[in-house]
Symmetry: C2
Subunit: 159 residues, 2 copies
């Protein structure tokens, strides 16, 4: 199983999208500034996210990315799957050929753990995260720091 900054970045960026959904398409440049993630790296991640139908893109000026579905219908596990291609804790991927054709001693332990992690991350949607007070707190600070976009004067609902 792999769980690194890659997946973290992807979830963070998707959450940024969910938080600013009312502003219309969000450019990667905005996300890059707000979340302090390299623009080119974001492009790579969003290429995968688009292929997995988690976001849709709008090209040209004023364009950017939108969530393909509502935040309530996108769970964290999907996002990590999209960029990481494997959320499995076993090495054999369930093939039970871990230890020289045989099943390794701890095979069942890792399948259990995988199930555990997966069900945890499956139970959390972007909408859940948006609701959380700490997330809103951080998001508000980021908007202020980033010079509170002029496109939309006041974003309702947060304050």
């Amino acid at each position: 199983m792999r769980l690194t900054t890659k997946g973290r970045y992807a979830v963070t960026a998707m959450l940024d999208l969910a938080l600013h959904a009312e502003r219309g398409p969000i450019s990667l440049a905005d996300i890059s500034k707000r979340q302090d993630i390299s623009l080119s790296y974001l492009e790579q991640l969003f290429s995968r996210l688009r292929q997995s139908s988690l976001v849709s893109s709008v090209r040209g000026p004023g364009g950017g990315y939108r969530l393909a579905r509502s935040g309530a219908e996108i769970c964290v596990a999907e996002i990590i799957d999209a960029v990481n291609e494997s959320v499995d804790a076993t090495s054999c991927g369930g093939n039970s050929d871990c230890s020289g054709g045989e099943q390794c001693l701890t095979h069942y332990l890792w399948t259990d753990l995988s199930r555990q992690i997966h069900s945890f991350l499956n139970g959390i949607t972007l909408a859940d995260l948006v609701q959380r007070a700490e997330v809103q707190e951080v998001a508000r600070r980021q908007d202020i720091r980033g010079g509170a976009e002029e496109k939309v004067a006041i974003i309702g609902g947060l304050q």
Copy 2:
């Protein structure tokens, strides 16, 4: 958070130790053969395990490694911690400086996940694994394949 073959190997090797505890010290060469793990790599892993006081060593012929405590007192999380040095899902390690000095949006999500995984792996001891039918099944096959060590004629308890 890191969860790779390294941790898997360590847990597998420790479980092998727990399974053959009655035979006295177990050599890494034996584990290497049974579990199909490179001997030199095992040496590196056991160096860490020894530093973390999870195993004790006996040098010289007939020597090997023993669990430092009973299997019921060693949980899987400890083993992974010992070789992996980090079972943390956050990038900042709880310092909240993930995103340019600030806390990243998803900080709490990763701390929650870390807690989840840790408590799961903390709840499983080597003794628990030894008890499991699938583990005993695999272990028996390995012993037969490996030519059922002559040192101890019949290992009580398994059959």
